[in-house]
Point group: C2
Chain length 339, copies 2
């Protein structure tokens, strides 16, 4: 990387003000696409590959669903939702993942996601207790990894190497993704996710299309039916996809059953809106969560998609910045117009 490295042509999306002036700028790009693949509107660069991070999870669960895994092991809709989750490590999440592992004859020791303090604490503003046990079960990706292990059991493939890029599971994920995105597997830019799983970068326009497809009405069989199974589980149990006080839960609760919302690390946010037949994909160039929220609110507002009761989202609109004494010193404000 140097001064000649090709870079995305992001544009200013959100500013932080101080007094009456602009202090900081968050750049980024936004794509809105239909379920037929056409770009509805956008801002910035929708062609540069963006690592999908956790927005990829529903599609990483696709092979397991397509292969009849949930029925075979008796996974509940809540557990299907957990396979697509960045969960908070709440007791309900941890218990449901442990049950998934038991159902497939695995245990916490088989999870290769590592561990971190449950997201519950940051979301609730509660300090992490020093003696807290942060096990792999508490990792926000443990449901995805339990689903990975379940796929291995379903196909009698090795559990020890399930994160290797050439493991049959990871090949099946790439094949499924390429199939329903109608592109070649070699088009995916690859990297390793925060949980050790292979992850892929997609042009924002294509990620938006993927979420439009996820939210499109399902059919009786085939990929659309499998995506429908995932969409229905996620929208019926948004608390299993996210956690108390978290953004994705708030977004999905705003229009129950109609919207799937999934954030990813480094400033990625995806939404699928069934009633409008569209998908939305957003990347904040620098990864700042504060800008993701403000930009997401502005996108919903510009598309006429604010929920009937927008109150839970109002803190994302012109969000106040306060100093240590509690005084408002500035605001976060959108500065883009989708076109």
């Amino acid at each position: 990387m140097n001064e000649t490295t090709p870079l995305p042509r992001h544009v200013p999306l959100v500013v932080a003000t101080r007094g009456a002036a602009v202090e900081s700028v968050h750049y980024g790009s936004i794509a809105v696409a239909s379920a037929t693949g056409s770009l509805v509107c956008s801002a910035g660069d929708v062609d540069f590959p963006v690592f999908t991070r956790s927005t990829l999870k529903p599609f990483q669960a696709l092979p397991f669903v397509a292969d009849g895994g949930p029925g075979r092991f008796g996974f509940s809709p809540e557990q299907i939702a957990l396979m697509c989750a960045s969960h908070s490590g709440e007791p309900r999440h941890v218990a449901a993942v442990a049950d998934m592992l038991a159902r497939v004859g695995c245990s916490e020791r088989d999870l290769q996601c590592g561990s971190h303090a449950p997201l519950f604490y940051a979301a609730s503003g509660i300090p992490v207790p020093p003696a807290l046990p942060a096990t792999p079960l508490h990792h926000n990706c443990s449901g995805k990894h339990a689903g990975f292990l379940a796929w291995c059991r379903l196909h009698d493939e090795p559990c020890e190497t399930y994160l290797d890029a050439d493991h049959p599971l990871q090949q099946a994920i790439r094949r499924a993704l390429a199939g329903f995105l109608d592109c070649g597997e070699n088009e995916f830019v690859a990297g390793t996710d925060g949980c050790g799983a292979p992850n892929y970068a997609l042009p924002l326009a294509r990620l938006a299309y993927a979420y439009a497809r996820l939210a499109a009405p399902g059919e009786d069989a085939g990929p659309a039916a499998d995506l429908g199974t995932l969409f229905n589980a996620m929208t019926a149990h948004p608390g299993m996809v996210s956690g108390e006080r978290r953004g994705d839960l708030i977004l999905m609760q705003g229009a129950p059953g109609d919207r799937v919302a999934k954030g990813g690390a480094e400033g990625v946010q995806a939404l699928g809106i069934a009633s409008r037949g569209i998908g939305i994909a957003l990347k904040i160039a620098d990864g700042a969560p504060r800008a993701v929220r403000v930009a997401t609110y502005a996108v919903l507002e510009q598309l006429g998609l604010l929920p009937p009761d927008p109150r839970p989202l109002l803190q994302w609109r012109d969000a106040e910045i306060r100093n240590h004494a509690g005084v408002v010193t500035g605001r976060l404000m959108p500065v883009f117009r989708l076109g």
Copy 2:
């Protein structure tokens, strides 16, 4: 603010990679100026006003030094350094600030900076103890505020309103700043800092010039002598300006007595290099500390200013990004060339 709001023309400075691809981009601008005010080199937009935040502290202490305050109250060079500090709330910092307050007949109760967990913990990677008393003395700006109160005592002005923009102290700061920057007081874009103090935005080129002046050889009397007093105190006691393991301390220890380094919130970094007669000012558009460090290292490298022993800074060069399992998933890398 909307899509027609004038914005700085920042450029990509640092990227975060994942695998072999660019994942995230941090935009920003950099100015390098001489002590005579000429721009030596730059990247991005050096004319758009940038809130100076804590890089303003030496100049906020200037009126007190110019008026003979340190001698009047017997402030040590360590305490002069503390007036310019974003300190870590280490015991030595807290004790020295308490002593400053006692010397001017004030107490902790007169500090209006609010309180936050001492920066020591974040810098050391130690969890903040739940029962920790975070008093205003521990606030990283408490030395600056003690200096503010000292100025009020020196001039028999009210201590209760020392943060008001029209308080004689704040007027004196603006006058001093305008005087040595050779500009009008009404050119300053004003806002409120995180500690409640009035803060001002300056074009990056002018902030770089201010630090070149701060690091320029002092004279026997006048503003240059007062700036020399501040520079000498800061460079002789960098641990009082910053704290253990903190960036400014590492930068100043790299070339003792030659360099003053001061970071500010929202991605601001300033340096003054006495031996080269230059000042450097850098703004990361989104405020991310990870990008400040990588960009600062690259600036020093491009200017031939890496310290004789660069090892303490090497973690800022092509900094590794690791996931929860400790695996390197990418790097932070500079993508600019000063010109």
